[in-house]
Protein backbone atom coordinates (compact mmCIF):
# COMPACT_ATOMS: atom_id res chain seq x y z
CA UNK A 1 0.00 0.00 0.00
CA UNK A 2 2.79 2.34 0.93
CA UNK A 3 4.56 1.41 -2.25
CA UNK A 4 1.50 2.16 -4.35
CA UNK A 5 1.04 5.59 -2.80
CA UNK A 6 4.72 6.30 -3.32
CA UNK A 7 4.42 5.56 -7.02
CA UNK A 8 1.26 7.64 -7.14
CA UNK A 9 3.22 10.61 -5.84
CA UNK A 10 5.89 9.99 -8.44
CA UNK A 11 3.26 9.71 -11.16
CA UNK A 12 1.58 12.96 -10.15
CA UNK A 13 4.96 14.67 -10.13
CA UNK A 14 5.74 13.33 -13.58
CA UNK A 15 2.41 14.56 -14.94
CA UNK A 16 3.01 18.02 -13.47
CA UNK A 17 6.51 18.19 -14.90
CA UNK A 18 5.78 16.90 -18.38
CA UNK A 19 3.04 19.46 -18.92
CA UNK A 20 5.51 22.32 -18.81
CA UNK A 21 3.08 25.05 -19.93
CA UNK A 22 2.07 26.18 -16.41
CA UNK A 23 5.75 26.15 -15.50
CA UNK A 24 6.60 28.54 -18.31
CA UNK A 25 3.68 30.76 -17.38
CA UNK A 26 4.82 30.79 -13.76
CA UNK A 27 8.30 31.87 -14.82
CA UNK A 28 6.85 34.96 -16.45
CA UNK A 29 4.92 36.10 -13.41
CA UNK A 30 6.56 39.27 -12.07
CA UNK A 31 6.91 37.85 -8.58
CA UNK A 32 8.86 34.91 -9.96
CA UNK A 33 11.13 36.94 -12.22
CA UNK A 34 14.51 35.41 -11.50
CA UNK A 35 18.00 35.31 -12.94
CA UNK A 36 20.20 32.27 -13.22
CA UNK A 37 23.76 32.66 -11.87
CA UNK A 38 26.24 34.36 -14.23
CA UNK A 39 27.20 32.41 -17.35
CA UNK A 40 24.63 29.71 -16.71
CA UNK A 41 23.67 27.71 -19.76
CA UNK A 42 20.47 28.43 -21.64
CA UNK A 43 17.52 27.47 -19.41
CA UNK A 44 16.63 24.06 -20.82
CA UNK A 45 20.24 22.97 -21.02
CA UNK A 46 20.86 24.42 -17.59
CA UNK A 47 18.17 22.25 -16.03
CA UNK A 48 19.59 19.19 -17.77
CA UNK A 49 23.09 19.91 -16.47
CA UNK A 50 22.44 21.13 -12.93
CA UNK A 51 22.52 18.30 -10.37
CA UNK A 52 21.25 20.53 -7.52
CA UNK A 53 24.39 20.13 -5.41
CA UNK A 54 24.22 23.64 -3.96
CA UNK A 55 27.91 24.42 -4.36
CA UNK A 56 27.29 27.66 -6.26
CA UNK A 57 25.40 29.06 -3.28
CA UNK A 58 28.10 27.86 -0.96
CA UNK A 59 30.74 29.62 -3.04
CA UNK A 60 28.83 32.91 -3.38
CA UNK A 61 30.49 35.47 -1.07
CA UNK A 62 27.53 37.78 -1.53
CA UNK A 63 24.94 35.13 -0.63
CA UNK A 64 22.74 36.24 -3.49
CA UNK A 65 22.13 32.71 -4.85
CA UNK A 66 18.97 31.12 -3.53
CA UNK A 67 17.28 27.84 -4.43
CA UNK A 68 13.84 27.06 -5.76
CA UNK A 69 11.60 24.74 -3.87
CA UNK A 70 8.50 23.75 -5.87
CA UNK A 71 7.28 27.27 -6.71
CA UNK A 72 8.80 27.30 -10.19
CA UNK A 73 7.69 23.82 -11.20
CA UNK A 74 9.12 20.39 -10.52
CA UNK A 75 11.89 20.65 -13.10
CA UNK A 76 13.36 23.68 -11.30
CA UNK A 77 13.41 22.09 -7.87
CA UNK A 78 16.57 22.93 -5.92
CA UNK A 79 18.11 24.88 -8.80
CA UNK A 80 19.89 28.18 -8.06
CA UNK A 81 18.43 31.57 -8.87
CA UNK A 82 18.95 35.23 -8.07
CA UNK A 83 16.31 37.82 -7.29
CA UNK A 84 18.17 41.02 -8.20
CA UNK A 85 15.87 43.37 -6.29
CA UNK A 86 16.72 41.50 -3.08
CA UNK A 87 20.38 40.80 -3.69
CA UNK A 88 22.20 41.13 -6.97
CA UNK A 89 25.17 39.34 -8.45
CA UNK A 90 28.53 41.04 -7.85
CA UNK A 91 30.12 39.16 -10.80
CA UNK A 92 32.79 37.50 -8.68
CA UNK A 93 32.47 34.40 -10.92
CA UNK A 94 33.16 31.96 -8.10
CA UNK A 95 30.04 29.92 -8.82
CA UNK A 96 31.29 29.02 -12.29
CA UNK A 97 34.59 27.85 -10.85
CA UNK A 98 32.95 25.57 -8.32
CA UNK A 99 30.14 24.18 -10.52
CA UNK A 100 31.05 20.55 -11.27
CA UNK A 101 28.63 20.05 -14.14
CA UNK A 102 29.23 23.06 -16.36
CA UNK A 103 25.66 24.22 -15.79
CA UNK A 104 27.40 27.45 -14.76
CA UNK A 105 30.37 27.89 -17.02
CA UNK A 106 33.68 29.08 -15.57
CA UNK A 107 34.61 32.61 -16.65
CA UNK A 108 37.73 34.49 -15.54
CA UNK A 109 37.00 37.53 -13.43
CA UNK A 110 37.95 40.09 -16.07
CA UNK A 111 35.72 42.74 -17.57
CA UNK A 112 36.27 41.60 -21.16
CA UNK A 113 35.60 37.92 -20.46
CA UNK A 114 32.55 38.79 -18.40
CA UNK A 115 31.10 41.08 -21.08
CA UNK A 116 31.70 38.45 -23.71
CA UNK A 117 30.23 35.45 -21.88
CA UNK A 118 27.80 36.57 -19.20
CA UNK A 119 24.25 37.33 -20.24
CA UNK A 120 21.95 36.93 -17.26
CA UNK A 121 19.53 39.46 -18.67
CA UNK A 122 19.29 43.03 -19.82
CA UNK A 123 18.36 46.10 -17.83
CA UNK A 124 15.38 48.16 -18.96
CA UNK A 125 14.44 51.62 -17.72
CA UNK A 126 10.82 52.56 -17.13
CA UNK A 127 10.95 56.27 -17.91
CA UNK A 128 7.62 56.96 -16.25
CA UNK A 129 9.08 55.77 -12.93
CA UNK A 130 12.69 56.96 -13.25
CA UNK A 131 13.44 60.06 -11.17
CA UNK A 132 15.93 61.42 -13.68
CA UNK A 133 13.29 61.34 -16.38
CA UNK A 134 10.96 63.21 -14.01
CA UNK A 135 13.39 66.09 -13.72
CA UNK A 136 15.06 65.03 -10.46
CA UNK A 137 18.72 64.20 -10.91
CA UNK A 138 19.41 60.70 -9.56
CA UNK A 139 21.98 58.47 -11.35
CA UNK A 140 22.11 55.82 -8.63
CA UNK A 141 21.90 52.94 -11.14
CA UNK A 142 24.85 54.34 -13.02
CA UNK A 143 26.90 54.58 -9.81
CA UNK A 144 25.97 50.99 -8.88
CA UNK A 145 26.87 49.49 -12.24
CA UNK A 146 30.10 47.43 -12.20
CA UNK A 147 30.61 48.32 -15.89
CA UNK A 148 29.87 52.07 -15.98
CA UNK A 149 29.90 53.74 -19.41
CA UNK A 150 30.20 50.27 -20.93
CA UNK A 151 26.91 48.78 -19.87
CA UNK A 152 25.08 51.95 -18.89
CA UNK A 153 25.61 55.58 -19.75
CA UNK A 154 23.92 58.70 -18.38
CA UNK A 155 22.76 61.70 -20.33
CA UNK A 156 21.22 65.00 -19.27
CA UNK A 157 20.04 65.02 -15.63
CA UNK A 158 21.73 61.64 -15.16
CA UNK A 159 19.10 59.97 -17.31
CA UNK A 160 20.24 56.32 -17.71
CA UNK A 161 20.64 54.66 -21.10
CA UNK A 162 21.33 50.93 -21.00
CA UNK A 163 23.82 49.78 -23.64
CA UNK A 164 24.24 46.50 -25.46
CA UNK A 165 27.04 45.35 -23.14
CA UNK A 166 24.79 45.11 -20.07
CA UNK A 167 25.30 41.62 -18.59
CA UNK A 168 22.22 41.73 -16.37
CA UNK A 169 23.89 41.42 -12.95
CA UNK A 170 21.05 43.39 -11.38
CA UNK A 171 23.09 45.76 -9.21
CA UNK A 172 21.24 48.72 -10.79
CA UNK A 173 17.86 47.20 -10.01
CA UNK A 174 18.90 46.56 -6.44
CA UNK A 175 20.19 50.08 -5.98
CA UNK A 176 17.21 51.91 -7.53
CA UNK A 177 15.72 54.20 -4.91
CA UNK A 178 12.30 54.28 -6.54
CA UNK A 179 9.51 52.02 -5.33
CA UNK A 180 8.49 50.28 -7.54
CA UNK A 181 11.91 50.25 -9.12
CA UNK A 182 12.37 52.15 -12.36
CA UNK A 183 15.12 49.92 -13.73
CA UNK A 184 14.70 46.17 -13.91
CA UNK A 185 16.46 43.20 -15.43
CA UNK A 186 14.61 41.27 -18.12
CA UNK A 187 16.01 37.74 -17.72
CA UNK A 188 17.56 36.26 -20.83
CA UNK A 189 15.94 32.89 -20.23
CA UNK A 190 12.36 32.52 -21.55
Amino acid sequence: MKRRSFFKVLGAGAAAAVSSEPTRAAANRPSLRYLRPPCALEEEEFLAHCINCGQCGEACPNRCIKYFSLENGLASIDTPYITPREKACILCMKCGDVCPTGAIQPVPREAEAIMENVKMGHAEVDESLCLSYQGKTCGVCYRACPLPDVAIRVGRLEQPHVLENCVGCGLCERSCIQMPHAIRIVPSHG
Partner: protein
Protein backbone atom coordinates in the same frame (compact mmCIF):
# COMPACT_ATOMS: atom_id res chain seq x y z
CA UNK B 1 41.12 -19.78 11.71
CA UNK B 2 40.81 -16.44 13.47
CA UNK B 3 39.83 -13.27 11.62
CA UNK B 4 42.23 -10.35 11.74
CA UNK B 5 41.55 -8.67 15.11
CA UNK B 6 40.93 -5.22 13.61
CA UNK B 7 37.84 -6.31 11.67
CA UNK B 8 35.87 -6.46 14.93
CA UNK B 9 36.52 -2.77 15.52
CA UNK B 10 35.73 -1.56 12.04
CA UNK B 11 32.13 -0.92 13.07
CA UNK B 12 33.33 1.71 15.53
CA UNK B 13 35.54 3.22 12.86
CA UNK B 14 32.51 3.29 10.60
CA UNK B 15 30.59 5.34 13.16
CA UNK B 16 33.54 7.71 13.37
CA UNK B 17 33.47 8.02 9.59
CA UNK B 18 29.72 8.66 9.48
CA UNK B 19 29.99 11.23 12.26
CA UNK B 20 32.89 13.03 10.61
CA UNK B 21 31.04 13.25 7.28
CA UNK B 22 27.90 14.53 8.96
CA UNK B 23 29.88 17.01 11.06
CA UNK B 24 31.54 18.29 7.90
CA UNK B 25 28.16 18.79 6.25
CA UNK B 26 27.16 20.93 9.23
CA UNK B 27 30.48 22.74 9.39
CA UNK B 28 30.79 23.66 5.70
CA UNK B 29 27.69 25.89 5.60
CA UNK B 30 28.95 27.65 8.73
CA UNK B 31 32.31 28.12 7.03
CA UNK B 32 30.47 29.63 4.07
CA UNK B 33 28.54 31.97 6.34
CA UNK B 34 31.76 32.94 8.10
CA UNK B 35 33.41 33.63 4.74
CA UNK B 36 30.60 35.97 3.76
CA UNK B 37 31.00 37.82 7.06
CA UNK B 38 34.72 38.14 6.42
CA UNK B 39 34.12 39.30 2.85
CA UNK B 40 31.74 41.99 4.07
CA UNK B 41 34.24 43.45 6.62
CA UNK B 42 31.42 44.29 8.98
CA UNK B 43 31.94 42.54 12.31
CA UNK B 44 30.44 45.48 14.21
CA UNK B 45 27.26 45.31 12.18
CA UNK B 46 26.62 41.64 12.94
CA UNK B 47 23.98 40.60 15.42
CA UNK B 48 25.30 39.02 18.64
CA UNK B 49 24.37 35.53 17.46
CA UNK B 50 26.17 36.12 14.17
CA UNK B 51 29.20 37.43 16.03
CA UNK B 52 29.21 34.19 18.01
CA UNK B 53 29.29 32.21 14.75
CA UNK B 54 32.06 34.45 13.51
CA UNK B 55 34.14 33.99 16.68
CA UNK B 56 33.73 30.22 16.79
CA UNK B 57 34.52 29.77 13.13
CA UNK B 58 37.50 32.12 13.39
CA UNK B 59 38.90 30.06 16.27
CA UNK B 60 38.31 26.83 14.40
CA UNK B 61 39.78 27.89 11.07
CA UNK B 62 42.57 30.26 12.14
CA UNK B 63 45.26 27.56 12.39
CA UNK B 64 44.65 26.55 8.78
CA UNK B 65 44.18 29.78 6.86
CA UNK B 66 45.67 33.18 6.26
CA UNK B 67 42.87 34.59 4.18
CA UNK B 68 39.54 32.91 5.10
CA UNK B 69 37.63 34.43 2.18
CA UNK B 70 39.93 32.65 -0.28
CA UNK B 71 41.60 29.73 1.53
CA UNK B 72 38.39 28.22 2.86
CA UNK B 73 37.13 27.80 -0.70
CA UNK B 74 39.26 24.63 -0.78
CA UNK B 75 36.44 22.42 0.52
CA UNK B 76 32.94 22.98 -0.79
CA UNK B 77 29.88 20.91 -1.39
CA UNK B 78 28.59 17.67 0.02
CA UNK B 79 28.55 13.95 -0.66
CA UNK B 80 26.36 14.45 -3.74
CA UNK B 81 29.08 16.51 -5.33
CA UNK B 82 32.00 18.20 -3.68
CA UNK B 83 35.30 19.98 -4.26
CA UNK B 84 38.35 19.07 -2.25
CA UNK B 85 41.40 21.18 -3.04
CA UNK B 86 40.51 21.23 -6.70
CA UNK B 87 39.58 17.55 -6.84
CA UNK B 88 35.91 17.29 -7.75
CA UNK B 89 34.05 14.16 -6.67
CA UNK B 90 30.46 13.29 -7.47
CA UNK B 91 27.98 10.59 -6.70
CA UNK B 92 27.65 8.03 -9.53
CA UNK B 93 23.90 8.60 -9.38
CA UNK B 94 24.47 12.29 -10.15
CA UNK B 95 26.43 11.30 -13.25
CA UNK B 96 23.75 8.84 -14.32
CA UNK B 97 20.95 11.32 -13.61
CA UNK B 98 22.66 14.03 -15.60
CA UNK B 99 23.27 11.70 -18.52
CA UNK B 100 19.57 10.88 -18.50
CA UNK B 101 18.41 14.49 -18.10
CA UNK B 102 20.50 15.86 -20.96
CA UNK B 103 20.75 12.67 -23.04
CA UNK B 104 24.36 13.68 -23.60
CA UNK B 105 27.73 12.72 -22.21
CA UNK B 106 29.37 15.70 -20.52
CA UNK B 107 32.78 14.23 -19.76
CA UNK B 108 34.24 16.85 -17.40
CA UNK B 109 31.43 16.02 -15.01
CA UNK B 110 31.24 12.26 -15.61
CA UNK B 111 34.93 11.98 -14.79
CA UNK B 112 34.28 13.36 -11.30
CA UNK B 113 32.27 10.19 -10.59
CA UNK B 114 35.10 7.94 -11.66
CA UNK B 115 36.81 7.56 -8.27
CA UNK B 116 33.54 6.78 -6.42
CA UNK B 117 32.62 4.26 -9.12
CA UNK B 118 36.04 2.60 -8.84
CA UNK B 119 35.75 2.40 -5.05
CA UNK B 120 32.26 0.92 -5.35
CA UNK B 121 33.46 -1.73 -7.77
CA UNK B 122 36.09 -2.76 -5.21
CA UNK B 123 34.22 -2.24 -1.93
CA UNK B 124 30.62 -2.64 -3.07
CA UNK B 125 27.91 -0.57 -1.49
CA UNK B 126 30.35 0.84 1.10
CA UNK B 127 29.08 4.41 0.55
CA UNK B 128 25.76 3.45 2.14
CA UNK B 129 27.37 2.18 5.31
CA UNK B 130 30.42 4.36 5.70
CA UNK B 131 29.77 7.80 4.21
CA UNK B 132 26.11 8.47 3.47
CA UNK B 133 24.95 11.30 5.77
CA UNK B 134 21.41 9.93 5.61
CA UNK B 135 22.61 6.57 6.93
CA UNK B 136 23.86 8.40 10.00
CA UNK B 137 20.31 9.54 10.73
CA UNK B 138 18.61 6.36 9.52
CA UNK B 139 20.69 4.18 11.84
CA UNK B 140 19.93 6.45 14.79
CA UNK B 141 16.28 6.23 13.74
CA UNK B 142 16.59 2.45 13.63
CA UNK B 143 18.03 2.47 17.16
CA UNK B 144 15.16 4.68 18.26
CA UNK B 145 12.79 2.09 16.80
CA UNK B 146 14.36 -0.67 18.88
CA UNK B 147 14.05 1.46 22.02
CA UNK B 148 10.41 2.08 21.20
CA UNK B 149 9.89 -1.64 20.68
CA UNK B 150 11.63 -2.29 24.01
CA UNK B 151 9.24 0.20 25.63
CA UNK B 152 6.35 -1.86 24.32
CA UNK B 153 5.33 0.26 21.32
CA UNK B 154 4.63 -1.22 17.94
CA UNK B 155 7.08 -0.25 15.21
CA UNK B 156 7.04 -1.33 11.60
CA UNK B 157 8.87 -4.50 10.76
CA UNK B 158 7.42 -5.39 7.42
CA UNK B 159 9.47 -7.04 4.72
CA UNK B 160 9.06 -5.83 1.17
CA UNK B 161 10.77 -6.86 -2.01
CA UNK B 162 14.35 -5.58 -2.21
CA UNK B 163 14.05 -5.32 -5.98
CA UNK B 164 11.67 -2.36 -5.66
CA UNK B 165 14.63 -0.02 -5.40
CA UNK B 166 15.87 -1.02 -8.84
CA UNK B 167 12.45 -0.01 -10.10
CA UNK B 168 12.75 3.31 -8.25
CA UNK B 169 16.15 3.83 -9.87
CA UNK B 170 14.67 3.13 -13.29
CA UNK B 171 11.71 5.43 -12.65
CA UNK B 172 14.03 8.16 -11.39
CA UNK B 173 16.14 7.92 -14.51
CA UNK B 174 13.12 7.86 -16.82
CA UNK B 175 11.61 10.84 -14.97
CA UNK B 176 14.90 12.73 -15.28
CA UNK B 177 14.94 12.05 -19.01
CA UNK B 178 11.26 12.99 -19.41
CA UNK B 179 11.52 16.29 -17.53
CA UNK B 180 15.04 17.17 -18.65
CA UNK B 181 16.02 17.89 -15.05
CA UNK B 182 18.02 15.75 -12.63
CA UNK B 183 15.02 14.73 -10.55
CA UNK B 184 16.70 11.72 -8.92
CA UNK B 185 18.41 14.32 -6.72
CA UNK B 186 15.02 15.14 -5.22
CA UNK B 187 14.39 11.59 -3.97
CA UNK B 188 17.92 10.66 -2.93
CA UNK B 189 18.42 11.19 0.83
CA UNK B 190 22.18 11.95 0.98
CA UNK B 191 21.74 14.63 -1.68
CA UNK B 192 18.76 15.97 0.25
CA UNK B 193 20.65 16.01 3.56
CA UNK B 194 23.61 17.87 2.09
CA UNK B 195 21.36 20.46 0.49
CA UNK B 196 18.93 20.90 3.35
CA UNK B 197 21.68 21.34 5.93
CA UNK B 198 23.06 24.10 3.72
CA UNK B 199 19.62 25.68 3.28
CA UNK B 200 19.06 25.52 7.03
CA UNK B 201 22.40 27.01 8.09
CA UNK B 202 23.50 29.02 5.08
CA UNK B 203 20.23 30.45 3.87
CA UNK B 204 17.64 29.79 6.57
CA UNK B 205 14.59 27.59 6.08
CA UNK B 206 14.03 24.27 4.38
CA UNK B 207 13.30 23.11 0.85
CA UNK B 208 10.85 20.49 -0.32
CA UNK B 209 13.42 17.75 0.26
CA UNK B 210 13.17 18.11 4.04
CA UNK B 211 9.56 16.96 3.97
CA UNK B 212 10.48 14.03 1.77
CA UNK B 213 13.26 13.03 4.14
CA UNK B 214 10.92 13.29 7.12
CA UNK B 215 8.55 10.99 5.25
CA UNK B 216 11.29 8.40 4.78
CA UNK B 217 12.09 8.54 8.50
CA UNK B 218 8.45 7.83 9.31
CA UNK B 219 8.40 5.07 6.69
CA UNK B 220 11.39 3.46 8.42
CA UNK B 221 9.76 3.83 11.81
CA UNK B 222 6.23 2.73 10.96
CA UNK B 223 6.50 0.41 7.97
CA UNK B 224 9.85 -1.30 7.62
CA UNK B 225 13.11 -1.09 9.55
CA UNK B 226 15.64 0.80 7.38
CA UNK B 227 12.94 0.46 4.75
CA UNK B 228 14.05 3.29 2.51
CA UNK B 229 17.63 2.06 2.16
CA UNK B 230 16.58 -1.57 1.80
CA UNK B 231 13.69 -1.23 -0.59
CA UNK B 232 13.49 2.23 -2.15
CA UNK B 233 16.79 4.09 -2.39
CA UNK B 234 17.75 4.69 -6.04
CA UNK B 235 21.37 5.40 -5.12
CA UNK B 236 21.54 2.23 -3.05
CA UNK B 237 20.29 0.35 -6.09
CA UNK B 238 23.00 1.83 -8.29
CA UNK B 239 25.72 1.11 -5.71
CA UNK B 240 24.41 -2.44 -5.36
CA UNK B 241 24.70 -2.96 -9.09
CA UNK B 242 28.20 -1.46 -9.14
CA UNK B 243 29.24 -3.66 -6.21
CA UNK B 244 27.82 -6.90 -7.52
CA UNK B 245 31.29 -8.30 -8.16
CA UNK B 246 33.06 -6.37 -5.42
CA UNK B 247 36.45 -7.65 -4.34
CA UNK B 248 36.08 -7.20 -0.59
CA UNK B 249 33.20 -9.09 0.95
CA UNK B 250 32.35 -10.58 4.30
CA UNK B 251 32.45 -14.34 4.66
CA UNK B 252 31.46 -16.78 7.37
CA UNK B 253 34.02 -19.18 8.80
CA UNK B 254 31.86 -22.23 9.12
CA UNK B 255 34.25 -24.02 11.54
CA UNK B 256 33.79 -21.42 14.29
CA UNK B 257 30.15 -20.44 13.67
CA UNK B 258 27.70 -21.58 16.33
CA UNK B 259 24.46 -20.66 14.50
CA UNK B 260 23.48 -18.03 17.11
CA UNK B 261 21.97 -15.84 14.35
CA UNK B 262 23.01 -12.58 16.01
CA UNK B 263 24.45 -11.50 12.66
CA UNK B 264 21.06 -11.81 10.97
CA UNK B 265 19.39 -9.90 13.78
CA UNK B 266 21.87 -7.02 13.67
CA UNK B 267 22.01 -6.69 9.87
CA UNK B 268 20.41 -3.38 8.96
CA UNK B 269 19.86 -4.53 5.39
CA UNK B 270 18.05 -7.76 6.26
CA UNK B 271 20.72 -9.96 4.72
CA UNK B 272 21.47 -13.52 5.76
CA UNK B 273 25.08 -13.85 6.97
CA UNK B 274 24.10 -16.97 8.91
CA UNK B 275 23.51 -18.84 5.66
CA UNK B 276 26.27 -17.09 3.69
CA UNK B 277 23.70 -14.89 1.98
CA UNK B 278 25.32 -11.49 1.47
CA UNK B 279 24.79 -10.75 -2.19
CA UNK B 280 25.15 -7.41 -3.91
CA UNK B 281 23.22 -5.49 -1.25
CA UNK B 282 25.83 -5.89 1.51
CA UNK B 283 27.41 -2.54 2.31
CA UNK B 284 30.39 -3.95 4.25
CA UNK B 285 29.22 -2.12 7.36
CA UNK B 286 30.81 -4.87 9.51
CA UNK B 287 28.10 -4.74 12.18
CA UNK B 288 27.81 -8.53 11.89
CA UNK B 289 31.54 -8.98 12.40
CA UNK B 290 31.39 -6.81 15.51
CA UNK B 291 28.46 -8.70 17.00
CA UNK B 292 29.69 -12.25 16.30
CA UNK B 293 30.45 -13.95 19.67
CA UNK B 294 32.72 -16.61 18.19
CA UNK B 295 34.67 -14.49 15.69
CA UNK B 296 33.25 -16.48 12.82
CA UNK B 297 32.95 -13.60 10.33
CA UNK B 298 35.83 -12.10 8.42
CA UNK B 299 36.73 -10.40 5.16
CA UNK B 300 37.55 -12.33 2.04
CA UNK B 301 38.94 -11.17 -1.29
CA UNK B 302 36.62 -12.83 -3.79
CA UNK B 303 34.35 -11.60 -6.54
CA UNK B 304 31.44 -13.86 -5.55
CA UNK B 305 30.00 -15.00 -2.23
CA UNK B 306 31.00 -18.35 -0.82
CA UNK B 307 28.36 -20.96 -1.68
CA UNK B 308 26.21 -21.92 1.30
CA UNK B 309 28.38 -23.82 3.76
CA UNK B 310 25.68 -25.40 5.87
CA UNK B 311 25.24 -25.12 9.66
CA UNK B 312 28.13 -23.83 11.78
CA UNK B 313 30.38 -26.49 13.24
CA UNK B 314 29.96 -25.24 16.80
CA UNK B 315 26.17 -25.19 16.46
CA UNK B 316 23.76 -27.74 17.90
CA UNK B 317 22.52 -28.92 14.50
CA UNK B 318 25.92 -29.69 13.03
CA UNK B 319 27.11 -31.43 16.20
CA UNK B 320 23.91 -33.45 16.38
CA UNK B 321 24.29 -34.65 12.82
CA UNK B 322 27.91 -35.56 13.34
CA UNK B 323 27.37 -37.40 16.60
CA UNK B 324 24.87 -39.54 14.68
CA UNK B 325 27.49 -40.22 12.05
CA UNK B 326 30.00 -41.11 14.76
CA UNK B 327 27.42 -43.44 16.40
CA UNK B 328 26.76 -45.23 13.09
CA UNK B 329 30.43 -45.76 12.51
CA UNK B 330 30.83 -47.32 15.95
CA UNK B 331 27.87 -49.64 15.36
CA UNK B 332 29.35 -50.82 12.07
Amino acid sequence: MKPFFLWRHLNKLRWVSLSVVFAMLVLLPYIHVYQTYVAAHAYDLLAPSEQRVFDVMETLTQPFTNDPAEDLDAIKGNTWSGTFWGLKLSDPLAALGQMAAGLTLYWPFLLTALIPIGLSVVFGRFFCGWICPATFIYELNSNLASWLRWAGLKVGNRRLDKRIKYGVLAIGIVLSAATGSVLVAAIYPPAIIGRELYYMIGIGGFGAGAMFFLGTLLFDLLVARRGFCRYLCPGGALYSLLGRYRLFRIRRIVETCNDCAKCNAVCEFDLDPLRDGFGQECNNCTACIAVCPTDALTFAVRITDYPAQGPGHLGRRYRGEHEDVAGHEEAA
